[in-house]
């Protein structure tokens, strides 16, 4: 009962953070504020993926139970069944490590574009930038 309420609170808080960051990306005029809120949005998506792979009953980190460096020492049947019963899901964690690094590369590129826009137009306010750019095209 109280477990269900707590899990509803987890998902509701992550969805609330998602909507706040989407509001920041869509409504805030400053370009750097948009980039900061985009970083929060990607981190929230990663956190949601990890939370979906969580194990409720006495979780353990997904570490392989046998000897990894020697090929002759395989884990026993009980060790494997214990591992499958209690370890959290390793697939979202592996994907999220990749997603963190790719998000870092995307944000470095966007920051570079923001510095170039500031040098070209003299401001980071996107309303002014779009007005000036439209004036240039005509």
């Amino acid at each position: 009962m109280i477990k269900d309420i707590v899990w509803i609170y987890y998902y509701a808080s992550l969805i609330l953070i998602t909507f706040m960051s989407i509001y920041g990306i869509a409504v805030r005029p400053n370009l750097l504020k948009k980039i900061i809120m985009l970083s929060i949005l990607s981190d929230t998506a990663n956190m949601l993926a990890v939370l979906l792979g969580y194990h409720i009953l006495s979780p353990k980190p997904p570490v392989y139970p046998g000897g990894t460096f020697s090929t002759t020492q395989f884990p026993s049947q009980e060790q494997l069944s214990t591992f499958a019963k209690y370890a959290v899901d390793p697939i979202p964690q592996v994907l999220v490590v990749t997603a963190i690094v790719i998000g870092l590369a995307v944000l470095v590129f966007l920051s570079f574009v923001a510095v170039l826009i500031y040098r070209r137009y003299g401001t980071l306010d996107m309303r002014v930038v779009s007005k000036k750019a439209r004036h240039e095209v005509k």
Binding site: Y9, S13, D43, I100, Y118
Partner: protein, 88 residues
């Protein structure tokens, strides 16, 4: 302690509440340096949540990226451009 809830649940509640508060402060802040600092606080809250969710490798990578590299990158952009968000 409330029965039925472990220490993991309480830590996760604290971490997600901190993340909500820091995200709201980042959203309403006009000074961009303060917004970067609040974003780093949100990264610390998510790192705590990653440790509780049994992903210690993710916590290591994410705290290094979210607190260190993001903050340094955004402060570099602020030093090249402007600090305050214009109010209309």
């Amino acid at each position: 302690m409330i029965d039925g809830l472990g220490i993991q649940d309480l830590l996760l509640i604290v971490a997600f509440t901190l993340a909500i508060v820091f995200t709201y402060k980042t959203l309403v802040e006009k000074d961009l340096v303060r917004a970067v600092v609040y974003s780093a606080g949100q990264a610390i809250a998510y790192g705590l949540a990653f440790i509780v969710l049994m992903a210690p490798d993710l916590a290591l990578a994410y705290v290094a990226v979210g607190v260190g590299i993001y903050s340094a990158l955004f402060l570099l952009v602020i030093s090249r451009t402007e600090r305050y968000e214009k109010v209309e």
